[in-house]
C-alpha cells in the first residue's frame, strides 16, 4: 500500500492541507503541550496512520482496539491522507504532540528516525527476530530497529483473463513476451499494458522491478542494465502498446483503466484486489512481473507500513504503546491483517503457512521473498535517487532524452548534495 488510491484532486487537496499545517509548524506557531506526564494509570493512547479509506480504516480500527484491550488501554486511532502524513508528523514533532503509536510508510522511516523523534524498539524488549530481511532493513536506522511491519506487499502483473484468451496470448513471463503480448492485445480504444510513470515516488516504485530484475542498481543508475530497463518502457510507449498518458497516471488511475477495460494488463499491488473483486464481470489473474530472461526471479520493491513509537514524556504511555505494537506484529494478527488486505505476513514462517491457505496470493508471496527495501542501500539518501529515477522515466518517455542520457542525469541528481 505504498501509495493509497486517491483521485488526484483529493490528493492535491490533502497535500495543500498538509502544507498549511507544515507552514504553521515551521513558523513555530504549533502550540500544544504534549502528552500528559502523570505517572498514574494510562487509560488510552493515540495512534496515527494513513488508512483513510474504507474498509481499511475500520479493519485497522478493530485490530488496534483488540490489541489495545489486551494491553488494557483504549487506542484512539486518527487517519490522515497518505500525502499529508509526513508533513503532519513533522508538524507534530515540532510541537511535541506526536502520537504514542505512529505508522509510517517504510521508505520514510529512516528519514523520520534521523530526526530523533522515534525510539528504538529494543528499549521495550520487542523481539525483531524471524522477520524477512528486506522489511527489517527498512525499519532499521544506524543499526537499531525503529519500526516493524506486520505485513509486506509488492507489485505484480495483473491481466484480464478474457482479453488474453480472446487474443490467444499466454501470460508473459519475459520482457520479449511482454512486448509481444502487449502489442497483440492492443486494439482501438484499448492498450495492451499500463504502468504508473508519474513524476512522483510512485512512478519510481513501479519502475524498480524492471531496474532491479535486470541487475540495475540505485547506487549506479548510469549503467547499461538500467538503460535496458528504461528502454523496455520506452519501447512499449513508442510501439503504441502503452498509452503516453502513463506519464500522468497514478496507480489508482492505472487500476481504473484496467477496470474500465481500457488496458489488458497492468502493474499494481494486491491492495487493489478487493476493488477488482467487486466487479463480477471482470475476470482477472495475477502473475509475477516479467523478467529479462526466462527462469529469472523478479526482484521487486517492498511495500508495507512500519509501526513506531515516538519520543514522549510519558514512559508509561510508551510501555503501553509497545505492548500494542508487539500485539500488531504477533503471528496471529499478521495472519488476520494479511487476509484482510491481501498482503503477505512479514515473517517468512507465517507467510509460508499463509500461502498454502490462499493460492491467489502465491505470486506475491514468491515475489516478497526476493523483495528489496527501497532504503536498503541508500538509507536517507534514497529520496534523491528516487527523484532522479522518476525524472529519467519522464524524460525518456517524452522523448526529451534517450534512456542513457536520462539515466546519466539521474545519477547526477542522486549523488548531488
Amino acid at each position: 500500500m505504498i501509495s493509497p488510491a486517491r483521485p488526484p484532486a483529493r490528493r492535491i487537496a490533502a497535500l495543500l492541507t498538509g502544507t498549511i499545517a507544515l507552514i504553521v509548524a515551521a513558523t513555530g506557531c504549533g502550540g500544544g503541550t504534549g502528552a500528559e506526564s502523570a505517572p498514574g494509570k494510562v487509560a488510552s493512547i493515540t495512534a496515527l496512520d494513513y488508512y483513510t479509506d474504507e474498509p481499511e480504516h475500520s479493519q485497522w480500527g478493530e485490530i488496534l482496539t483488540s490489541c489495545g484491550k489486551r494491553a488494557g488501554v483504549m487506542v484512539e486511532q486518527t487517519s490522515v491522507p497518505g500525502a499529508s502524513l509526513v508533513p503532519k508528523v513533522l508538524q507534530r514533532a515540532s510541537s511535541r504532540t506526536l502520537p504514542d503509536l505512529l505508522m509510517l510508510d517504510n521508505p520514510d522511516l529512516q528519514q523520520i528516525a534521523q530526526t530523533g523523534a522515534l525510539t528504538p524498539l529494543g528499549r521495550y524488549g520487542i523481539d525483531s527476530g524471524g522477520y524477512a530481511k528486506g522489511i527489517l532493513s527498512a525499519g532499521t536506522y544506524k543499526g537499531k530497529v525503529y519500526g516493524l511491519a506486520p505485513y509486506v506487499s509488492t507489485i505484480a502483473l495483473f491481466y484480464n483473463k478474457d482479453m488474453l484468451a480472446k487474443a490467444g496470448v499466454a501470460v508473459p513471463r519475459t520482457w520479449d513476451e511482454l512486448k509481444a503480448a502487449a502489442a497483440r492485445l492492443t486494439r482501438p480504444g484499448r492498450y495492451g499494458m499500463a504502468v504508473d510513470a508519474n513524476a512522483t515516488f510512485e512512478g519510481t516504485w513501479q519502475f524498480l522491478p524492471f531496474l532491479w530484475s535486470n541487475g540495475g542498481d540505485e547506487k549506479h543508475l548510469d549503467t547499461p542494465q538500467a538503460a535496458q530497463a528504461l528502454q523496455l518502457w520506452v519501447d512499449l510507449v513508442k510501439s503504441g502498446s502503452m498509452s503516453k498518458s502513463v506519464l500522468n497516471w497514478t496507480q489508482a488511475d492505472v487500476h481504473d483503466q484496467f477496470v474500465a477495460g481500457r488496458t489488458a494488463m497492468m502493474i499494481n499491488g494486491p491492495w487493489r484486489i478487493p476493488a477488482l473483486d467487486k466487479d463480477k464481470n471482470l475476470h482477472w489473474g495475477v502473475a509475477p512481473i516479467p523478467v529479462p530472461r526466462a527462469g529469472q526471479t523478479p526482484v521487486t520493491p517492498l511495500g508495507g507500513e512500519v509501526w513506531t513509537i515516538p519520543q514522549s514524556a510519558s514512559k508509561a504511555r510508551q510501555q503501553k504503546a509497545a505492548q500494542v505494537l508487539a500485539c500488531l506484529n504477533s503471528s496471529s494478527t499478521m495472519l488476520t491483517l494479511a487476509e484482510q488486505h491481501f498482503t503477505v505476513p512479514s515473517r517468512p514462517a507465517v507467510a509460508a503457512q499463509y500461502a498454502e491457505q490462499v493460492p491467489s496470493i502465491a505470486a506475491f508471496a514468491k515475489n516478497v521473498e526476493a523483495a528489496r527495501a527501497r532504503t536498503g542501500e541508500l538509507g536517507v539518501r534514497w529520496p534523491k535517487a528516487a527523484t532522479g529515477i522518476y525524472t529519467a522515466i519522464q524524460s525518456a518517455l517524452t522523448g526529451e532524452q534517450t534512456p542513457e542520457e536520462a539515466l546519466r542525469h539521474a545519477q547526477r541528481t542522486a549523488t548531488s548534495n
Binding site: 483521485p7 488526484p8 484532486a9 492535491i12 487537496a13 497535500l15 495543500l16 498538509g18 502544507t19 507544515l22 509548524a25 515551521a26 513558523t27 509526513v86 508533513p87 513533522l90 508538524q91 514533532a93 515540532s94 528519514q111 523520520i112 534521523q114 530526526t115 530523533g116 523523534a117 508519474n198 513524476a199 512522483t200 498509452s243 503516453k244 498518458s245 506519464l247 500522468n248 481500457r262 529520496p383 527523484t387 525524472t391 519522464q394 524524460s395 518517455l397 517524452t398 526529451e400 532524452q401 548531488s416 548534495n417
Partner: protein, 309 residues
Amino acid sequence: MRSGPRPATDPRSWERLAQWMFLGPAAAYLLLFFGYPIVKNVVMSFQQYTPTTFYTGAAPFVGRQNYAEILASDLFAKSLLTTLLFTAGSICGQFVLGLGFALFFQRRFPLGGVLRSLLLLPWLLPLVVSGATWRWMLDPDTGVVNAVLRALHLSSSGIPWLTGTSQALVSVILINIWIGIPFNTAILYGGLQEIPTHLYEAAKLDGAGPVTSFRHVTWPLLRPVVSVVLVLGVVYTLKVLDVILVVTGGGPANATETLATRSYELSFQQFEFGRGAAMSNVLVVISLAFALVYLRANRRARNAEEAIP
C-alpha cells in the same frame, strides 16, 4: 472630558493618540502576518532547515549556500524560462480576451447582465475542482477535447495535451487564461464604466468610427486601469501553483515546472525547507520588481491626472 485623570491639555496630542490607535491594529496586523513570515522566510533561506530541524529546532546557518545551489541547478534556468513563458502567455491571453469581453458587455443587449455574471464562474470555482476537470477534459485518449477534434477530423491521433512537453505548457497557459479572464473583464469593465459617455458622443459627432474612438477615447482613459490589471496579473500569475500542480504536477519531464512549483516541491516534497525558502525569495524579488513598476506607473498616472486642470 468631564472627569478622569487629567483633562488633556493639548487637543493635538489627543488627536495624535487617536491617529495611532487607528493605525495600531493595521500596523500590528501587517507586522504579524506579512512582516514576520517574510523575515522568517529570509532567515530560513540562509539556514540548513531539514526535517530534523522540526524535532531538534537546530537550523545551522549556511550563508549563501542555499542560493548558490538553487541557482546552479540545471532546473533553475529551465523553470525561470517556463515561469516567464507561462506569465507572458497567460497575461497576453487574459488581457486581450478580457478587454474584448469588457468592450462587448459595454453594449446593452438582452441578457447582457446574466451573461456577464456567468462569465465570473471560472473565478468562483475552486481551482482544484476546475483543474481536475480540465485534466480530465484534456486527457489525450479519453478526453472530450480530443474526441471533438477527432470527430471534426481536425486531428487523427489527437493532441498530446498533457503528455507532450511543449503541448503541456500550452495547456496550462490556456487553462490559466480561462481562469484569469473574469478578473480582467471585471476590472476593465469597471474602468470602461468610468469613461463619460459624452466623450463618445463628441467623438461620434467628429466622425470617429469605433476603431478611432477606441484609440483616441477609450484607450487613453483606460490606461491607469490597464496598468493596474497588468501588474496585478503578473504578480498573481508568477506565483500560480495550484493549477499546475493539479493539471500536470510540473510534468511531463519538468516541462511545466515554474519557480513556484519548484519552491513548493523543495519545501514540501523533498523537505529541503532552506532551499525552498531561497527559491521563493527569488520569486518574491521578481514580484517586487513588478510591484515597483506598478507603484511608479500609478504615481505617473496620478501626476498626469493632476496636471489636467
